[in-house]
Assembly symmetry: C2
Homo-oligomer: 286 residues x 2
């Protein structure tokens, strides 16, 4: 498979921010000749009006028929039944990937439903934002983002290569991880920060909010995101998040004691280390 693109047919299951952006980006980069989109509910009409897909259907089996590549961009809660529904319609040579934020449960669902029927590789493009839904989808959403691939143990080179080339074409930088290592890292840099931002927003009274500036706006931006989606993510990855939270609380407690005592050394060290680490994060090659 030296020239996988354009795919004869790409199927995207889900038309939210991620699914919609995958569809728009695949079109922009001419990655497929035909594009089928599974969309349902009030969003379906908007997706049809956008005119990006050859087929917009609320039947997932119809969407994947004859597809060479399927991107599943659905909540975990919806994945199991929809993967079960598409089993019979999949071409045996199809490659399936998903975009879930928690990979261990997603990989279990892929294996349970696709073993012996299709090849699959997990994906997590570290992109998104505080707005969800097709209305906020953008063809450049993945430019410069990290796409973490979580291949199953016995992944075929060809399937892995297709998924990797796909995200590369959308502008991603690729990182390969096991599902459990993915979940550990993402708990620390995405899921815990979300929980902290939410707790911070709730703990601030309205009078204080009135004078909040750009610092507060940045720190808490992600807290505006879909509570349903994030509730699912936080519960699905709760063990890793609790580990990351304990590490965070160790640092916070030390600073708290330092402030309570009116001594500056622990606070100063924390700020110094944080500043150095954060500056070098900005300077990393992308």
């Amino acid at each position: 498979m030296s020239r996988p693109f354009p795919l004869s047919r790409l199927a995207v299951l889900g038309s939210g921010l991620i699914g919609g952006s995958v569809a728009l980006a695949a079109r922009r980069h001419a990655l497929c000749r035909e594009l089928a989109l599974y969309s349902r509910g009030p969003e379906k009409q908007a997706v049809m009006s956008a005119g990006i897909a050859d087929l917009v259907t609320d039947d997932p089996a119809e969407a994947v028929r004859e597809a060479a590549f399927v991107v599943v961009a659905l909540p975990l809660a919806a994945m199991d039944s929809i993967l079960r529904t598409i089993q019979v319609a999949l071409d045996p040579k199809v490659v399936v990937t998903d975009t879930s934020s928690v990979k261990l449960p997603a990989m279990r669902l892929l294996r349970r439903n696709l073993e012996g029927r299709a090849r699959w590789v997990g994906s997590h493009p570290m992109s998104g934002g505080e707005r969800s839904g097709f209305a906020f989808a953008r063809p450049d959403l993945f430019e410069g983002a990290v796409a973490i691939l979580t291949p199953p143990e016995k992944a075929e080179g060809e399937a892995l290569s297709l998924v990797e080339t796909f995200w590369l074409a959308l502008g991603c930088r690729i990182v390969h991880l096991t599902a459990s290592e993915h979940d550990r890292r993402v708990a620390a840099v995405s899921h815990l920060p979300h929980l902290l931002a939410a707790a911070l927003v709730c703990s601030v009274d309205n009078e204080a909010l009135e004078v909040a500036g750009p610092g507060f706006r940045d720190v808490t931006r992600i807290a505006a995101a879909s509570p349903e989606m994030w509730n699912e993510i936080l519960l699905a990855n709760r063990e890793n998040i609790l580990l990351a939270l304990r590490s965070f609380l160790t640092y916070l407690e030390e600073a708290k004691e330092s402030l309570e005592g009116g001594t500056s050394s622990a606070v100063k060290n924390l700020l110094l280390e944080a500043s150095q680490r954060r500056l070098s994060f900005d300077q990393r090659p992308s």
Copy 2:
């Protein structure tokens, strides 16, 4: 004083991000005929080369001579001795303001050094960023920002009006607060968020940092700021920060217990409330 601007002479003490931006903005809006800047150390040459001031001096008394309005944009640690130095050089009709992030100690320093010699009003433009120093100063830094004014109990209307008109001219929205109410609110929306961002950055290991995306970048942006400046701020306002931290930890602990128990209601309620509050914060009139 119906037409205070242009001032015959404006003095800005300090040429960091805030002082430098005040000077650039005052020039852009033609708020003064003459501009004097107190700057010292390696930054002085850069300030002179920028060509924005009629006088750049490392003698604060020289900078304030004949000034109608003085903006003190210095760290708290430097304020006391510099206010003492300028006492004798102040015109008796001068109005002085400062830009400190913690107002109770700043107001004490202003009173101690200026009582009977000048009129003063505290200011805190809620603006800035993770970069400090004159190199990052911008004439539009204050556009759209909240400027909190903390007048002393017996503030003269004329002095208060001058300070208010000055920040309005720089594009700020004005809020009047007592120094202690300022410190309480700003602890919650600025100082605590900084501490949390710093603790988060320190608690994340390098492997996890490698896959961090835009959410992490936003949440932790402020942690890159000057550790010296923030150490001073956090210590100066530690009592209010500790109160805000306790409120934050109440919400965080509840979410933690909910995650530990694998039950979703407390986490879901937190995310729902946070999302609603954060969205209405974005939609507030500015």
